[in-house]
């Protein structure tokens, strides 16, 4: 990588970011399978990296990002702290959620990765609420929220679109449509001849579709979407058509257990978003293949180190099992509280 320019070209940087997430997730998947030290259900985005990378590149650092269960890639794309994520997967105190949340409950306030959640659709409404806060307080921040095609079947999706459009809230809804909900194909869950984009548009949300394996297209659509939302143009919905190579949860492949055909998975591997971006760039930047190789090595080392450190890190202490259930409140049974209560009781 010695020949990588100091000021990295933004297009090249999208490739770098995808390679990094790919290497991190592939390495995590291998360790997950072989060592079983990450005792948390884990949903890999391998093959889907272009959407979070492109969209987060379009956002400003101050913009906040939410995600669903397929959380690692949005977290990393938004700049979430890697060692903290890996420690979280290992259930360690150094985890970004102190080992309490696991893979599906990543958060990094410093990076404005505002949280991922396991229950489908929740973060669609939560991001809408974040946008309401920006709107009410006059901040020019935008909220982005990632979710799958399956989550759009939850009623909260329609409810949130309506609310966001009604108040023209600065929120970008990003649907990573990978054609499946666990093993159920889209056609088994949504009527033929309809589209999620059309549904979003019918709710008054500016809605766009994009090739989910074309990181440059996504970044461009994302920029337009974020700019529109920031400028007070109201919410934007982006449907990014992509595909998940691995099984729904866990490190296996999408064709394991006969869930899907090998041919189908292979046809999408052939459309790998990283490979496509590299091919696009190769004409203008012939060193790109070398860089990718360099990044692969670099990020493999980075994730290996994070895993080593996470394994060595301490577990949370048993004495802290219940900590964080409630915020620090004055002990209600202190003298003061009692005195106060007595005063009130006396008043009546």
């Amino acid at each position: 990588m010695s020949d990588l320019p100091a000021e990295i070209d933004p297009d090249v940087d999208l490739v770098r970011a995808m390679v990094r997430i790919r290497r991190i997730e592939e390495t995590l998947a291998d360790h997950y399978r072989d060592e079983q030290q990450m005792r948390t259900p884990t949903h890999f985005s391998i093959g889907q990296e272009a959407t979070p990378v492109g969209m987060c590149a379009a956002a400003e650092p101050d913009d906040v990002v939410y995600a669903g269960h397929r959380s690692h890639a949005p977290y990393l794309a938004k700049g979430g702290d890697l060692p903290a994520m890996v420690a979280e997967l290992h259930g360690k105190e150094a985890g970004c959620a102190r080992g309490r949340g696991g893979s599906v409950h990543l958060i990094d306030p410093a990076a404005n990765f505002a949280g991922s959640a396991a229950i489908l659709g929740e973060m669609i409404s939560v991001a809408t609420g974040a946008a309401l806060a920006f709107h009410v307080t006059g901040r020019t921040t935008v909220a982005l929220t990632f979710f799958g095609d399956g989550a759009t079947e939850e009623g909260v999706f329609a409810e949130s679109l309506n609310l966001a459009a009604l108040h023209r809230l600065p929120v970008v809804f990003v649907c990573e449509n990978n054609g499946y909900s666990v093993a159920s194909p889209l056609r088994q869950r949504q009527p033929g001849g309809t589209s999620i984009t059309a549904r979003a548009a019918a709710h008054g949300v500016h809605a766009l579709e994009v090739d989910g394996n074309d990181v440059f297209a996504i970044r461009d659509v994302g920029r337009a979407a974020v700019a529109r939302a920031r400028a007070g143009g109201g919410p934007v919905f982006v449907e990014s058509h992509t595909y998940r190579w691995r099984e729904h949860v866990g490190p296996g492949w999408g064709y394991d257990h006969g869930q899907r055909t090998r041919a189908e998975v292979d046809s999408w591997i052939a459309r790998c978003p990283i490979r496509r971006a590299v091919e696009t760039l190769r004409g203008v930047e012939p060193r790109i293949d070398d860089w990718v190789r360099g990044w692969e090595a670099e990020y493999t080392a980075e994730i290996q180190q994070a895993i080593r450190r996470a394994k060595a890190a301490p577990w949370p202490g048993f004495s802290e099992l219940t900590r964080g259930t409630y915020g620090a409140a004055p002990d209600p049974r202190t003298e003061e509280a009692h005195a106060h209560a007595d005063v009130l009781a006396g008043d009546q």
């Binding site: 958060i107 309401l132 409810e159 915020g327 409140a329 106060h340 209560a341 009130l344 009546q348």
Partner: protein, 346 residues
């Protein structure tokens, strides 16, 4: 001290807290309309307008999530439901997200959302507009659940909720709104988890919450005429629950009646009985009595609804039974004809 109604006390707390804290917003179906949630949001809307008192579409689930998103980005939303029964639609966001947020994301911060739910007793509300789901929420750690009885507590607990860092459910029985009581002018918080002795007594402890506190007081007054001394404990909060005040009282009286507007099974009355069984097994001289609605949904038909709602009469009967004094209640129920003069709200 001044006297306010329960709904005026809520309204005043809302306006005072909103004045002090510009982060507070109010969300709810019809919070801006002529009824103003039984008059509790009218003044806030008049004072702060549609920017901060926001009418919302009929989308309870999304609104609960929206409140969480707003709360974790610097606002302090208060969500208001004209019927607590609608909370089931918001329950996922409230229980799976708001209540767990602080813990599940590693104690980085909490979700200061206040959710007010009105319990719809009165005028034949029926099975889906009469429920008091306080125990349902109070089962889940991370929530705070309060059900004030007095106007002063309605104000004080709302002030506390609007300043706290945890998601809080406030259950309000409509029957309380017109009740008057002394209420301090200042917005002083009533701490969560601290009950109050409403009326001291020696023979029996009646533990109650919300509307049932008044029923318990009226039962106590009636029994006092017969020389029976009833201690009435208003726990005010279901979570945290003031175990100590319950146990101190029962340790003295040796007899416990629990009165609640929701069902006995797995409800508030069960928890209070369990607290005593856990802490004072020897103290009980008589069986615990749960005075609650019968184990069926709420009927509409007027006399059935009257029979379904537990009242002072049932508390009196339970107390007399525990004292081995037979089954004499307060007297025959009123005439089986609804009174005229009703003019809504329904």
């Amino acid at each position: 001290m001044r006297t306010l109604t329960y709904s005026q006390a809520i309204s005043e707390a809302t306006v005072q807290c909103m004045t002090d804290d510009p982060r507070i917003i109010v969300l709810g179906e019809g919070v801006d309309d002529h009824k103003g949630i039984f008059g509790t949001t009218t003044q806030a809307y008049a004072s702060f307008g549609a920017q901060r008192v926001i009418d919302v579409p009929n989308s309870e689930n999304a609104c609960a999530g929206v409140a969480i998103g707003a709360a974790t980005n610097g606002l302090r939303p208060m969500v208001v439901h004209t019927r607590a029964d609608f909370l089931f639609l918001a329950m996922d966001a409230m229980v799976n997200l708001a209540a767990k947020w602080r813990y599940m994301y590693g104690d980085h911060g909490g979700v200061p959302v206040v959710t007010r739910g009105v319990v719809g007793r009165g005028w034949g509300q029926g099975a889906t507009h009469s429920q008091s789901p306080h125990a349902t929420f109070a089962h889940y750690p991370g929530m705070v659940v309060a059900a004030p009885a007095s106007p002063a507590d309605a104000k004080g607990l709302l002030v506390q909720a609007l300043r706290s860092g945890d998601p809080t459910v406030l259950i309000e029985n409509r029957g309380l709104y017109p009740r008057e009581g002394e209420v301090g002018l200042e917005p002083l918080p009533v701490p969560f988890g601290v009950g109050r002795i409403v009326r001291p007594g020696n023979d029996i402890t009646v533990v109650a919450v919300s509307l049932m506190v008044y029923e318990a007081e009226s039962a106590a007054r009636h029994l006092a005429e017969q020389g029976i001394s009833v201690e009435v404990v208003d726990v005010r909060c279901l979570r945290p629950l003031d175990d100590a005040i319950i146990c101190e009282s029962v340790a003295r009286t040796g007899r416990l009646v629990v009165a609640d507007t929701s069902w006995a099974r797995y409800g508030f009355a069960a928890e209070v009985a369990a607290v005593v069984a856990e802490n004072l097994p020897g103290a009980l001289r008589e069986p615990v009595r749960r005075v609650t609605p019968p184990d069926c949904p709420a009927p509409v038909s007027w006399p059935l609804e009257e029979a379904w709602n537990p009242g002072a009469d049932a508390i009196v009967r339970a107390c007399l039974e525990l004292l081995g004094l037979g089954r004499n209640g307060i007297g025959p129920p009123e005439s089986a004809q609804p009174a005229l003069g009703f003019d809504g709200p329904y």
